[in-house]
Point group: C2
Chain length 691, copies 2
């Protein structure tokens, strides 16, 4: 299980490298000489094993295994691990912390004056998280002398969605094949799933779907007796790490596998079929999380076929799993994907809001609507979805995309935490100021019981999980933000670098600079000013300005020889801007107030329009693309400066991708610049080469 494979990247941020600084190591050892694990539940066993491994690996000594009785006698330098109430020894903590407020997942980390460290919680899952948190403190070189940490997750559900198909392919996967499936079945050796679960637990992910939201024929049968024994095995592995397994289901299962001729959610046969299907799943997996559903979207079946709405569909499934404590997660990625490009009135950006707002309040309590961060589809830059702040009586999940579909496909470096931070921090004004997306998604703003964050995974069976070693930082960063959106990108970058590459200052300085600048760089050399798309159709890699311009997907830039952009104002456009709350509407509606980076998302402007930056739109395009490509090239030079400080394997892996990125950024630069130069006829002020 604990293979030492750091150099391939397999261990990710859990390499537990030996701490070279002797005084730091001594200092840690003083408090980590013994371990006392109180209780023997699976999660506590997981926690104990991990802690023992981490300490022996990082500090070079196997900690003594202390019996509880010894501890009672007051041994110094012991880590005491257990749930509150399980030992008298933990009772003094109640004077400092409110265990009743920790919930199922919160925890405390406490350093006593006698050099003991307490990792405790109200539940064993909280204890597991406390252990990983404590390990992280050691990995990142923090002082552990006067710890007074009390953590409660800001989001109840912290989920990863896999878009894995049972043939082993991964939709939008850029790091190899599925770790779950191959040739239409589960991979018999599930040891990699265990290694994966451990990585997830270390960053407190508590839910996972293992199959693609586009549920094809074979995957439809995951909820049948044919595959449930295997699903149960996978669920048991995740359970050991505090993670509940969910499945994506086919809304038309009653037809595909149920032998019915309808999937009408109000049909009694359909209802009955799903109730039995759910009951059967729970016979195999008592803590099964529930269903994730993509319905009536991109050719997937759904309730529309039967004249029903999304609430009818979601509630029917919700009623089936409710008796067992299950949930239904219903995606809001619904739009007309057979739009006529000639039609400028239909606006895909409006679709989710138009579909779901009328249904607010009609969903069961165990339904969550999963809403992509933006109204389009994970572009490098979009405004936030107006459903956040729009819906007030419906549980919501914010959906992010870790896999870099439109952001370089893990061949380009693009650290997405800064993007996600902007999403979390966006103020919807739904209840006045500080009505941030973070507050909405968690459920706090509108007092919803359920809420949280889901994201599309970026891992596959590549040895290093994510293809690009540095893309591990997105996986880590997502999970950490899901726990606490208040963490900063700087904090998370530093944390990940130390855990991954060690405590040396120079790698941290350089890689942090690379990570934190990468999103801005990627945005600079790709589609400008929020207009999005401009990628090759289908696979979505590489520049193609008109790639989606004359297509059915509702994704246009409307560039002509005079200007470009999509008028989404209420005044003269599609009215999309009106889906937000007052101050936001005003900001986006106004050409003067609209932020530069979203200008072309909301307005159609001439190339000579002057941005807040003082540049014209066309000059901005040129400058951003020349600058972006230059900065992409600099990433290679920066990485090269670490040649002697990073192991050869990972150094080489990353370098190869950075070199490709630098070349590909030139392709982006030249194609975008040439396109707009040819179209506008306006020369670059600096006379640089455009073709």
């Amino acid at each position: 299980m604990y293979r030492k494979q750091a150099e391939s990247g397999y261990d990710c941020w859990l390499e537990y490298r030996h701490i070279e600084n002797a005084s730091l190591r001594e200092n840690y050892l003083k408090r980590c000489a013994s371990l006392a694990i109180i209780g023997g539940s699976p999660l506590l066993r997981t926690a104990g094993r991990e802690l023992a491994h981490a300490i022996s690996s990082m500090l070079g000594e196997n900690p003594k295994d202390e019996a509880v009785t010894l501890i009672d006698a007051g041994a110094k330098g012991t880590i005491i691990v257990g749930t509150y109430g399980s030992s008298r020894l933990l009772e003094p903590l109640a004077d400092v912390y409110r265990f009743d407020e920790l919930g199922e997942e919160g925890y405390i980390i406490h350093a006593s004056e006698d050099d003991c460290i307490y990792l405790s919680a109200a539940s064993d899952k909280g204890v597991l998280y406390a252990v990983f948190h404590f390990i992280r403190l050691l990995q990142t070189g923090q002082s552990i002398e006067s710890l007074r940490i009390c953590e409660v997750p800001r989001n109840g559900l912290r989920m990863i969605n896999h878009w894995d198909n049972m043939d082993g392919s991964i939709e939008r996967g850029y790091a190899g094949k599925s770790i779950f499936f191959k040739d239409g079945r589960f991979i018999p050796d599930m040891s990699r799933i265990r290694d994966y679960a451990r990585l997830l637990a270390s960053v407190a992910i508590n839910a996972v779907t293992i199959n693609n939201v586009n549920v094809h024929r074979q995957e439809s049968r995951l909820i049948t007796d044919e595959f449930l024994p295997d699903v149960a095995k996978a669920a048991a592995i995740f359970r050991d790490y505090g993670i509940r397994l969910y499945l994506s289901v086919n809304f038309a299962s009653t037809i595909e596998i149920g032998g019915l001729n309808t999937a009408d959610p109000l049909d009694p046969d359909v209802t009955a079929w799903w109730k039995e299907a759910a009951a059967n799943i729970y016979r195999y997996i008592p803590d099964f999380g529930g269903f994730l559903v993509k319905a009536d979207s991109e050719f997937r079946p759904g309730p529309f076929t039967y004249g029903r709405n999304h609430a009818d569909g979601a509630n029917m499934l919700a009623d089936a799993v409710a008796p067992f404590g299950g949930a239904v997660i219903w995606r809001c990625f619904v739009y007309n994907c057979l739009q006529d490009w000639r039609d400028r009135k239909t606006d895909r950006a409006r679709a989710a809001y138009d579909h779901f707002m009328p249904l607010d309040g009609l969903f069961r309590d165990n339904v969550m609507l999963q809403i992509k961060n933006g109204p389009m589809d994970f572009q490098v830059r979009e405004p936030v979805s107006p459903l956040f702040g729009g819906l007030t009586q419906t549980n919501q999940l914010l959906e992010l995309q870790i896999t870099q579909e439109y952001t370089g496909q893990q061949r380009h470096l693009c650290y997405l935490v800064p993007q996600w931070k902007e999403v979390f921090d966006f103020d919807t004004y739904a209840r006045g100021e500080r009505s941030t997306i973070a507050e909405v998604a968690s459920g706090r703003l509108f007092g919803r019981e359920s809420g949280g964050i889901a994201a599309v995974s970026n891992i596959g069976d590549d040895r290093n999980w994510t293809g690009h070693v540095l893309a591990q930082a997105n996986w880590h960063g997502y999970a950490r933000l899901a726990w606490d959106p208040g963490l900063s990108a700087e904090q998370l970058a530093s944390e990940w670098i130390r855990m991954t590459f060690g405590l040396a200052a120079e790698p941290e300085r350089v890689v942090k600079d690379m990570l934190l600048s990468s999103y801005d760089i990627y945005e600079a050399y790709t589609a400008p000013l929020g207009v999005g798309w401009m990628v090759n159709p289908n696979h979505h890699y590489g520049p193609n300005v008109d790639g989606y311009e004359y297509s059915k997907w509702g994704t246009y830039h409307y560039a002509d020889c005079h200007g470009m952009g999509v008028d989404r104002t209420v005044r003269s456009g599609t009215g999309y801007a009106g889906q937000y709350h007052g101050p936001v509407v005003e900001r986006y509606e106004s050409l003067a107030d609209c932020p530069d980076e979203l200008l072309l998302f909301f307005h159609h402007v001439p190339y000579a329009h002057v941005l807040k930056s003082g540049k014209t739109v066309i000059q901005h395009i040129y400058d951003a693309h020349f600058g972006g490509a230059d900065r992409a090239a600099e990433l290679v030079a920066k990485w090269d400066s670490l040649a002697s400080r990073i192991d050869a394997d990972r150094f080489g892996q990353v370098r190869e991708r950075l070199v490709h990125q630098a070349e590909h950024a030139c392709e982006w630069r030249d194609m975008i610049n040439t396109y707009f130069y040819r179209k506008s006829g306006i020369a670059d002020e600096q006379g640089r080469v455009i073709y």
Copy 2:
């Protein structure tokens, strides 16, 4: 073998429908009462069977089988079939015809005053062709009273190239899967190959390659003992119909299947390997035609790898097959397919000439260079390849494309005979006036022994062979032109319609009009004025103006807000125009003289440039596209007028495709017009809707 499957389209032009006109039938019967087949070679047996079947099917009576002795006694109304010299009965023909000038394939058809008809030739293959010609006379309702026909093919090699892969797929195939291969092997039941050979023989095709010029791993092994028994079976079927089988081979076979580590054509091991490989093939197939080779093109291996040239490569293979009478056909489709779109100096159009002209005269006598009709790749409109008229000391084959890769993929109606006629009739001025491509390709102009025509097949395992029933006319028309490029498009259309749909006047009038206008219509609504491309990459279907503009394929239009087109003049462009002979150079070099339809192939002009037609370029684009789409819609109406005159099956098949074409033509119209309106900013004079 003679399944009556007319309504599915399976029988193509050999349906042999009963002649309904009683007096015509009587007239025919008078001369077709008996058959005398002199001799029993396989080809003569084929000929006899076919003739008996045709007569019984069309005239409703089984002709009496006359023994030669009876004929000698002077029976009236007998068709006498045999090679000259095989019977005293044929001797009088020598007074009228010069049998020594007929060669291996020429034939005579002679009606005597005693109502006998003589179908004779110097060889049994000629007799077979005479039989099919005679049948065609009956099918098309010609008088057979005073026949004095003497035919000699204008081209020695009349070949069909299949781009079939052994997995059953067909590269650029639009009519189903391969009739030869499936799942990596030959299809065991070869009866469809026999039906196919019969159709080919009926139009005098005498050579066929059955596998893709892109020879992949499995296909490389067709020349090994693993597959040669099956190749030999197929060859035997074709042999019964006078057709020689060739194979496409992998230039790197010595490495892929030969166990050598080189494919250097001057390496003795390589030479020896190929000599033995050839000898082995001829052990299985004594009349094996030879090799077709695509080398150093689009990632295929070739002699360049070893610092050798195309002559080195071709001659090495030619020497291997020469002892057995085999030939090597070497494709000239060689260009840099990793071009940088930024580079305006490199011109793909120049490539074939630049590569092969320096090698003129260096090829063995049993090598033929196969040259695509145009310098690019089977666009709807291209100039002819300047290698025709350039090369004077090298055998040449003209390569055409029957499969409609860029001309509507058999979903659009596009009768290509008019295009091919323009190619054949093009005057290269290589030896002064009347140095047409037809004269070059046949070998006559430069006194070459070998020459001819090859074309990429449009058939597959669709019931009707070609997907679009009317695309059978391209297959038929190609073969007939290969025999005689002097035939007109009108003649060939009429002939095909009568053979396919019968002798009724109205279907002939309507379908002929549809066929003959279809190329012009297709050109009108697709890429304008010879500039080409503007299709979706890879599959090449449907409009995409910038689809190849920023790619590596050397295929650009350079449209900007001022104008478009590729300057290929000597004066200011890539110099391509200089690859022709004097008068042609002058025509293309001059903006004033360059024909409108090729203007943008040779010149970059402003949108306001006035064409010979009196229209500006931009207005021409608008008018052509509005007009083309309108005319595509009219094709549906024209076809509908035949609803009661064409069988329901074929009527419906064609109608479905015409309806799609009409819709898709609107997509072309709107996308092209919108692109150029947005780019130029110039409005349509007629104010029609552009988006």
